[in-house]
Symmetry: D4
Subunit: 172 residues, 8 copies
């Protein structure tokens, strides 16, 4: 059985709602994935072992979610040669702010970590689709088609405003 | 003639020092690249035309540098299906702060842009190496070897402290 | 048919409530306007074409709304000689903060972009009225009259406090 | 004698270096201007009297520079119907940061004030040129020509990189 | 009729709730006061005239409330020799943050303005009581008594915890 | 009667909910404690006297909670040789932000104060357990056991995801 | 011998340069003063004893300087009924930022503390002059005269620009 | 041979100057220590193995220095039951700001990490002295003596000002 293309990992199930945003995109583009709960702080050994095995298992890209001090993405990036995408999680109910973003963005020289916006797991998944599309023409075509559909939707709205006038458009 | 694997672009030659950090890494790993000066604000048409042609020319990944309001990385990501890496440029002499980072990180849903630390073009280039290594076993092996060398260097320093004692180590 | 004096553009209909604040002012002062939905990230070509045509069509001033990384105002200002007013949109439900403001205010040398407060589309529209009033004495007079009415309202409240006393004033 | 088109005012001669950036642009485009030193805090009456007389004297646009709590631009905007452009001054030697920007951007409803980047008096002056160009075709043409020259310079650099290669380009 | 000792002024009745916090303290200590609505931006002339007359009328201290760009406290301090206390108003519903505080704290050399915490009109009023107590022994004694009562309340709570134990204390 | 091992103190009973988070941990590990209400600003003398007596009474560690300007932890640390742990309290309803954290973290040379996250009294209590465990093998063992239980819980969740699949796991 | 009117206190002689800014103003206006070095953290008892004796000795106003966590101004305000002015000290060489300001501005209800800009001991001293001028007509007159001189200096500069023209003015 | 009481670890020798501040204090108080170079990102396995062995070797307290994303202190705290003190390193030359502080302070529930000011390794070492003093009366006495000497130095300066007068004091 071949390994899934993408690994989506989080430090705590409290981040599952953010993870779902990535998974929804991966399913839309029919990209295989696995999900793991790996805590940098509570299961450091399990996390390292998992990260060290990613390349041999054939995983192509990792999406790592973490809030607060957010050590998971950086530690995984340190223990693999697979590209790692960090999604800082901002949890309003815990009073957390930009710590996860800052912890992810300030990695030291030599350890590449690609960072996306707070909670923007969907954008990270789209980035994964772009990377995988470099080797998969069919996936790439489907991705380009989705880009065109986004553009068409905006153009349609713009034309609708032009035809109806702003107030009529607003009242619909 | 095949296209280079990586495009390194910047909005202004004033960012050339930061670009050099990426290029040094690409040359170390013998990854082909091209360099472009494309200004989102001064040459918007040229920038869009360039971005739209990237995929057909076979470029695999883009490293886009920009400071200040930093529209270049996001605009290029909007006009291609190739993965784009943003490197915010922080220029102390212009009194600029975190604007470039914020402008890059806050992209809208649907437009993936991978962000690296301020001026961290070297880390973006290492990330590009990881991505290209997914299709290039030899490159991947050379990358893993460089990871091991980084680790060895730290271990050697640690042993040196243990053997010499801190003060002796500091005096060397 | 002559072109409208003001173009109000936004990147997404999710900013329509902010746009309405500008439109209400323009209608109060009977200034002609058009509304467009132009996304820097989803329809970059349509946006540029639109911006490049503004001057020839006789549009006098542009009010551009955008949230998040907010590339729309700066990209339009880069592709026209018409004055462009940026209104950063702050959307609390997306967890966004000051990114749009920072992205707008940090434009490079050579590209003028006038920035107003977060969501302050009404103030941008009043600024447009001032600019158009430079060539339209009747409009200018109506604007000055509205300034006087604002002042009169404050003076009336102040006198009301003086006559009634603070507590009585508060109980009304 | 007709009034100058633009008034450049500052609260203190310590901001003269920033004012010079505006004046250099105005002179480049041969726009008439006057310079005034009007302190909101030290000469509040003189400032108000000056602001109230701007419209009758035929001044078309005001560029107001101020650092620290930066009350000058807002107070002048409150006392005239002429468009006012605020240039927050950031003075590193006084330890000041973003106060001037924040004070300018947070004006109340009803008082339009167009804000530019810290110390960006040159961009404010270019904006004034755009506004004046609405009534002055010759000025507008010269402005568009300067835009083209900026674009040409970037394209020339880009071609130079393409022809010479990055390293050769850097060594020149 | 002698003038009131304290003037409480605000730029807009929308700040009345904050003003009430000062007035409650002034009434508790039986200090005479007047309330004015003076807008720096909508009624600049009325504001200046009012400020210039404060000293001759015998007003001893001014508490000036203002949110957003908050020009009122600084402009009044610039036009009188009476001590002025600034209370920055933070209005969550307008999305405003620390602008009022920054605008008040960054006054230029030569113009003293005493700043209190956001919305802390009660603390400004207590400060006014301290100042007036320098000339009014009876007021000073009543103020010191209120300090002692605050201390006694804390000591009583601490003893209550010691006697009851924390859990029993919490359950009361 | 021997003194309790830990003193939990706060400046105001309004911080009792945060204090409870520490107390819950101390009770879980059966560590003796006392609770005090000591206000740096309302009962400065009582606070100092209390702090000066801590060492002689045999208290081993202090957990000091404070919000706003948060002088309590630093003042207590200045008046004892016992280790002091600061827990900044962030109270959303008072509009306070990071003041308490900043006031605690910026202590001068010579006065050690260990700082924990906003409202993180539970983590401070766990730190106290670690310190006390240095002299108490039984306590240390119970602490290590709780660490293992945390790890086991994460591993169990991870296995549950692996067995059920993400969607099934989410639906439970 | 009567007590001095103003007490200027600091926590460390490293703040002496900032203190000198206050003392220069007090000497200019011939206001009596005393200087004390009172450390909240190193000499908490001496600080409290000093603060408690201020009112009985007849000191009228306190200017308290402190950097970092800046507990001195708030602790003194807590232990006296005399008005206390806080001057946060920002020391660039220690990497400190806005901690002192935040610690001073976020005092709890009931403890009034008037805050001035970072290092703005001169403005605090001018505020003290305003307060003392409420009971001292001669001092008040000298203060108003200094206000007029500040205004005259600005008017003179403005006239100089008008007469010479900007460029000639700049070349002088 | 017994283990040293304190372990001082850092991720990179570039932090050696900060480490020296801790070591100077430990030597002053004759506390045994060891120094290690353990990189969370370059040698994750070595770091974990080291952390897991601390308790068995009898190390009593860890001082962990780290800048940037600063994962070292948190990862070590996650892998030991020994108390860990984090010293965020702020490196001006790398443009880093508060990332290390934020990454350290925002640890998740269950993982205690005591944080000290940026680069404040000396204060962390003094805290270690306090903790070790709980079991070592002689060390505790020497620590209390050093506290008294700090106080005496301030009192001596204060008396010197009182005797000499401020100006004379300043001229010495």
């Amino acid at each position: 059985m071949s390994a899934p293309k993408v690994a989506v990992i989080m430090g705590s199930v409290s981040d599952a709602d953010v993870a779902d945003k990535a998974i929804e995109v991966l399913e839309e583009f029919e990209v295989s994935y696995e999900v793991g709960i790996k805590s940098a702080h509570r299961t450091p050994n399990e996390m390292l072992t998992y990260a060290e095995g990613l390349a041999d298992r054939g995983v192509q890209i990792v999406i790592a979610l973490a809030g607060g001090s957010a050590h998971l993405p950086g530690m995984v990036a340190s223990s693999t040669s697979v590209p790692v995408l960090a999604v800082p999680v901002r949890r309003s109910q815990r009073g957390h702010g930009d710590e996860a973003m800052k912890s992810s963005i300030a990695m030291p020289p030599g350890i590449p970590l690609a960072v996306f916006g707070d909670n923007a797991a969907d954008r990270a998944a789209l980035f994964a689709v772009r990377v995988l599309g470099l080797k998969d023409d069919d996936l790439n075509k489907r991705y380009q088609q989705s880009q065109q559909e986004m553009a068409d939707a905006v153009v349609a709205q713009d034309q609708s405003v032009a035809e109806l006038g702003w107030k009529e458009f607003r009242n619909n």
